[in-house]
């Protein structure tokens, strides 16, 4: 067994450091003293009146926390999908979650009156849930759910939903499209405190369930038949893993749009550190994913003088070379 505690300690340090960096990065400099003073002035109740403290507490800290939750949830979901499908190239969006969320979000934009952003996450979540359950139901046959059918159905449903997205874009009034598309590209700027509050229970429950299923995930890596004869109720565990991983991905998409690559590469990075045993892999992947996304967001906020970049673009831009590096390092095996 590899030694995990030092790795976890270092990662936890990096995670907290990334949050600190994110909170202290911005156009106005705010000292820790200012924040503490602002809080104590109100007796730790309510939002402080000092502007600097307000910026940190209502904008930067929630944004960092949102990044942590989103990155951690996407990585955990990716770990689960890779074990479920026994495919190292699986990611949280592989089975139609992304297409479903996009169709839901676009539908909310196009069909609902007004410019309100509020129903959009809900519709994205519904779209993701519908697409994911549709793929799952179609992949079932007499003897349960096969991985090959899941992947095939995911790809087919994804292609169908992409066609729907193109149709919806083609038939919509020009002014309405950029907002939806920008939102879909993945963004943490929507990270106001209430959204963190909405996401937190989903992430807590989802990652908690996956952690409890970690031995089952280990066995799923062996394949269905060996897992079955080792004492695992394979179909039940597969269903639970599928629903949980989709719930995590769907709730994240609903809050922050489609942030790519985190769910694909972070699990690989985590496996390099601690191997495939899910008891260690899941917490490590969560911390690594959270750290990675917070740092990517800091980069997205500061890289361009003319405004913020979508964080999804940053994750993909930095993630792709990193993935290639991992591939080469391991002699072609991720």
């Amino acid at each position: 067994m590899r030694r995990t505690s030092p790795i976890l300690a270092v990662l936890l340090g990096a995670f907290l450091g990334a949050i600190a960096l994110s909170v202290s990065t911005g156009p106005t400099a705010v000292s820790l003293r200012q924040v503490v003073d602002g809080l104590t002035a109100n007796g730790w109740r309510g939002i402080p009146s000092d502007t600097g403290a307000r910026v940190v507490l209502t904008l930067r800290l929630p944004r960092a926390l949102l990044g942590a939750l989103v990155g951690g949830a996407l990585s955990s979901s990716g770990v689960a999908f890779q074990a479920l499908l026994r495919n190292p190239l699986a990611d949280p969006y592989i089975l139609g979650v992304s297409g479903g969320a996009a169709v839901g979000a676009l539908a909310a934009f196009l069909l609902l009156p007004g410019d309100s952003f509020l129903p959009l996450p809900l519709c994205a979540f519904l779209g993701a849930a519908l697409a994911a359950s549709g793929v799952f139901l179609m992949a079932r046959h007499r003897r349960g759910v096969s991985r090959e059918r899941l992947i095939l159905m995911g790809v087919v449903v994804g292609a169908f939903l992409n066609a729907l997205i193109m149709l919806m874009v083609a038939f919509s009034p020009p002014g309405k499209i950029p907002g939806a598309l920008y939102w879909l590209m993945g963004d943490l700027g929507l990270g106001t405190l209430p959204r963190v509050g909405v996401l937190l229970p989903y992430v807590a429950v989802g990652t908690g369930i996956l952690f409890l299923l970690s031995r089952g995930l280990d066995l799923l890596l062996l394949g269905d038949e060996p897992a079955f004869t080792s004492g695992l109720p394979v179909e039940k565990v597969k269903t639970a893993v599928y629903l949980t991983a989709s719930l995590l991905a769907g709730s994240v998409v609903a809050v922050s749009g489609l942030i790519g690559f985190v769910g694909l590469i972070v699990p690989h990075g985590a496996r390099v550190l601690v191997g495939s045993g899910h008891r260690r892999l899941l917490p490590v992947a969560f911390l690594l994913g959270g750290t990675f996304l917070i740092l990517a967001d800091v980069l997205a906020r500061t890289a361009s003088p003319s405004g913020e970049l979508p964080v999804g673009a940053v994750t993909a831009l930095s993630g792709a070379p990193f993935f290639l590096y991992l591939l080469r390092r391991n002699g072609g095996k991720p």
Binding site: R2, R215, D218, L221, E225, P226, T229, G231, V272, S276
Partner: protein
């Protein structure tokens, strides 16, 4: 008399229209080592899958300690019966010892079992299969034969009363083939563990197997002691190969030697 450990009565199975098993009977008691022989595609793996509960028979009855496999809870069944199948995983980084320790799953509660006991069983299995030196190597970094031994180690670690093994020596060199049958013999003699082994090693099976079942055409063509089953007539009928069957001068066991085709 207590129920047989494993029994099959009139088991039939077909894949689509292709009938693979056409009425197979088998009974196996505690502490027996039974060898399943027969040509490729005769249904040895299918029969093992039916016993392990992976496939339901289309007709006939199968039982493990008097109950059908489907009536067991997954963990309960895994504590009674372990399986070494033909497919071995390599796609994910996993150390040999982690892989072997997965065999402890049916003995662990929701939050894990006794770590000391798990470790002890894992190390015992690694020692028996000669994998102690390789325990920290990745499954992808060892040879096919070593992976096969790791699969056997995982099944030993599972601590079941009966082991079903599907061509467990396919990738092994002659040293490890002999070692494998020695391990099964030791498990049988010291722990009373039974084994049903599907194999193509005619002579080694004759050396170690107490009872041999020769499958042909979806049925048990011959069953009994090695010298009763392994005759030139039976081997010709089952495999279509001409052989001579004599005795190993050192051990007295049947020795099957193929003859060169004269045509």
């Amino acid at each position: 008399m207590s129920a047989a450990l494993l029994s099959a009565t009139g088991v039939r199975f077909r894949y689509r229209e292709q009938e693979v098993l056409a009425g197979v009977d088998l009974e196996m008691g505690e502490g027996e080592m039974v060898i399943l022989l027969g040509p490729n595609g005769v249904g040895k793996s299918t029969l093992l899958k039916i016993f392990s509960g992976l496939l339901p028979p289309h007709s006939g009855e199968v039982s493990l300690l008097g109950r059908p496999p489907a009536s067991y809870g997954r963990r309960e069944m895994a504590r009674l019966l372990s399986v070494v199948g033909q497919d071995l995983p390599v796609d994910f980084p996993m150390a040999v010892e982690e892989y072997v320790a997965l065999g402890r799953f049916p003995h662990q509660g929701f939050f894990g079992g006794s770590a000391a006991e798990d470790r002890e069983q894992m190390e015992r299995a690694l020692v028996m299969t000669g994998l102690m030196e390789l325990r920290r190597r990745g499954l992808g970094e060892i040879s096919a034969g070593e992976r096969q031994r790791a699969a056997v180690a995982r099944a030993i670690c599972q601590g079941a009363r009966v082991m079903l093994l599907d061509e467990p020596t396919a990738f092994l060199d002659i040293y490890h083939r002999v070692a494998f049958y020695e391990i099964l013999t030791r498990l049988k003699e010291n722990c009373g563990i039974s084994a049903l082994v599907a194999s193509h090693d005619l002579s080694l099976c004759a050396e170690y197997g107490e009872r041999i079942l020769l499958l042909s055409g979806g049925k048990v063509m011959a069953s009994g002691k090695p010298e009763e089953v392994l005759t030139p007539e039976n081997v010709w009928e089952a495999y279509g190969v001409a052989v001579t069957c004599d005795r190993n001068p050192a051990t007295g066991a049947v020795r099957v030697t193929p003859l060169r085709s004269t045509t």
